[in-house]
Amino acid sequence: GIQVEQSPPDLILQEGANSTLRCNFSDSVNNLQWFHQNPWGQLINLFYIPSGTKQNGRLSATTVATERYSLLYISSSQTTDSGVYFCAVTGGEKLTFGTGTRLTIIP
């Protein structure tokens, strides 16, 4: 099956800093999603981005499908950005999740 690796596993930043999270995957995919898991466990959809670039406020994402990676950018971090960020991919109907990046924003 498809392998998904995320880096870094943990990231601690001061409020206001920018960050880049990376997702590498081992095979071609037809779906790539980024999620934010908040402290209550809810998985919030951030981006559906099998290829190209998208932006939503302070967040943006880029997927280079031919090179099998995706990047999530968070600018001007806020404490509410804290949590775990997951990348998930599929070559069919089943999502395979990475192990996540735990982001901690310090006030």
Binding site: N31, Q33, V84, E93, K94, L95, F97
Partner: protein
């Protein structure tokens, strides 16, 4: 708009007791439905998925089973819980409709299960 519900939100059960977790989706028809488990705050593991009523695919052999008695209802069950069944259980859905994002999944709020 579509919404997904799970209940209960939290559950504490003794080893050997039965389990039934329920997931329902509103605002869509004939969705794909999924059960995931998350242990230790990291890494979601797909347990079961269903493309229609009565159609269940199991991803991991285990102490659990799933059923889909109605189009928008997905149930996760166990006859006898093990300590290793503790975790955070998430239900998700995706649309089969043409023109929507291909297999984009949306998750419910989850059920936190502790087996004692």
């Amino acid at each position: 708009s579509q919404t997904i519900h799970q209940w209960p939100a939290t559950l504490v059960q003794p080893v050997g007791s039965p389990l039934s977790l329920e997931c329902t989706v509103e605002g869509t028809s004939n969705p794909n439905l999924y059960w995931y488990r998350q242990a230790a705050g990291r890494g979601l593991q797909l347990l079961f998925y269903s493309v229609g009523i009565g159609q269940i695919s199991s991803e991991v052999p285990q102490n659990l089973s799933a059923s889909r008695p109605q189009d928008r209802q997905f149930i996760l069950s166990s006859k006898k819980l093990l300590l290793s069944d503790s975790g955070f259980y998430l239900c998700a859905w995706s649309s089969k409709d043409a023109g929507v994002n291909f297999y984009e999944q949306y998750f419910g709020p989850g059920t936190r299960l502790t087996v004692t």
